[in-house]
């Protein structure tokens, strides 16, 4: 009797095996939603980049004088068909000799910075992308 019980698999062993197997399957299945989220996140990056570029092009279309100094912001919900994005445009004077401090006087160069913000499905913090361009007076 004792000899025979050693040869087989007990119910406990079997249950343990199933449990381990289930844990394995569950952890593998967790990666699928993760993959979809990463995909969605990449898609949102693409959209944000396009929004950023469009705004830059819009400002490029203006003449140097028309580019008004200051910050303008389109808050969440205000960009038609892109309600989950926020966009900020900052225009300031620029001094090539002292790039970090915007000068008070016009030296013939303006700095345009466009920043787009959004909430990625990955993580809770706000993501952002920015492009900066210098525009010289013609």
């Amino acid at each position: 009797m004792k000899k025979q019980s050693k040869k087989g698999i007990t119910l406990i062993e079997l249950l343990l095996a199933i449990f381990v197997f289930t844990v394995g399957i569950l952890s593998v299945s967790q990666t699928f939603p993760l993959g979809i989220h990463i995909q969605k996140s990449a898609q949102m990056d693409t959209v944000a980049n396009q929004l950023c570029q469009s705004k830059m092009e819009e400002i490029f279309a203006l003449s140097y004088g028309e580019m008004a100094l200051g910050t303008s912001e389109e808050s969440y919900g205000s960009i038609a068909s892109f309600v989950s994005y926020k966009r900020r445009a900052e225009i300031s004077y620029f001094d090539p000799n002292n790039p970090s401090v915007p000068p008070a006087l016009d030296s013939g160069i303006k700095k345009v910075k466009i920043t787009v913000f959004w909430h990625s499905p990955m993580g809770v913090s706000e993501k952002q992308v920015a492009i900066t361009n210098l525009i010289a007076q013609k």
Binding site: I18, Q39, S54, F82
Partner: protein, 184 residues
């Protein structure tokens, strides 16, 4: 003899366990297939949208002139655009982007006078000599540059606006961009 064989109970437990295990495997497989299909569809529309806008962007940036009167308002938007290729300086090549079914195609066309045997390319709005007409010929045949498109709107003659909608299975993506033609 009796000890060596399976009892009915043992057999039923085996079948039940096997059922559970194969059910689990099936669910896992199904899930992976679904995840694969979804992320593939999503990646594909993102990629197609990006490529379409990227290509149009580059060429419209450099465009010399848009053919015909182009609508300024979104409600009058077109689903095609023809403009003069700004990358070619010694001839008149016109790039045509248009939507057919769910694809965006690109072709290059040229205009010439019907009496000109050499078919020298002329501007789209050139006035033909008496008794001749302006004809078009294909310089590069239409090629698909993107798929899964169900909406294309183009408007604005100075700053060209493009709104693109893509859809595959239940995944959809909407992209919009603006392009300032540097030579327009």
């Amino acid at each position: 003899m009796k000890k060596k064989s399976f009892t009915l109970i043992e057999l039923m437990i085996t079948i039940a366990v096997l059922g559970l295990v194969s059910g689990g495997i099936y669910t896992g497989f199904n899930l992976s297939q679904k995840a694969y299909r979804e992320s593939e569809a999503s990646a594909e529309i993102t990629q197609n949208g990006r490529v379409i806008l990227e290509r149009m962007n580059r060429e419209i940036h450099q465009a010399k002139e848009i053919v015909g009167a182009f609508p300024e308002e979104r409600q009058d938007a077109e689903d095609e655009i023809i403009f003069e290729d700004g990358h070619i300086s010694d001839s008149y090549n016109y790039i045509h982007y248009f939507k057919t079914d769910d694809t965006i195609k690109r072709e290059v066309v040229g205009y010439y006078f019907s009496g000109d045997g050499g078919q020298t390319l002329v501007p789209w709005n050139a006035t033909p000599p008496a008794n001749q007409t302006l004809l078009t010929k294909n310089l590069e045949e239409a090629r698909i540059i993107g798929e899964w498109v169900y909406g294309l709107e183009i408007w604005g003659s100075k700053v060209v606006n493009i709104a693109l909608s893509l859809k595959k299975q239940d995944k959809s993506l909407h992209l919009e961009t603006k392009i300032l033609g540097r030579n327009l």
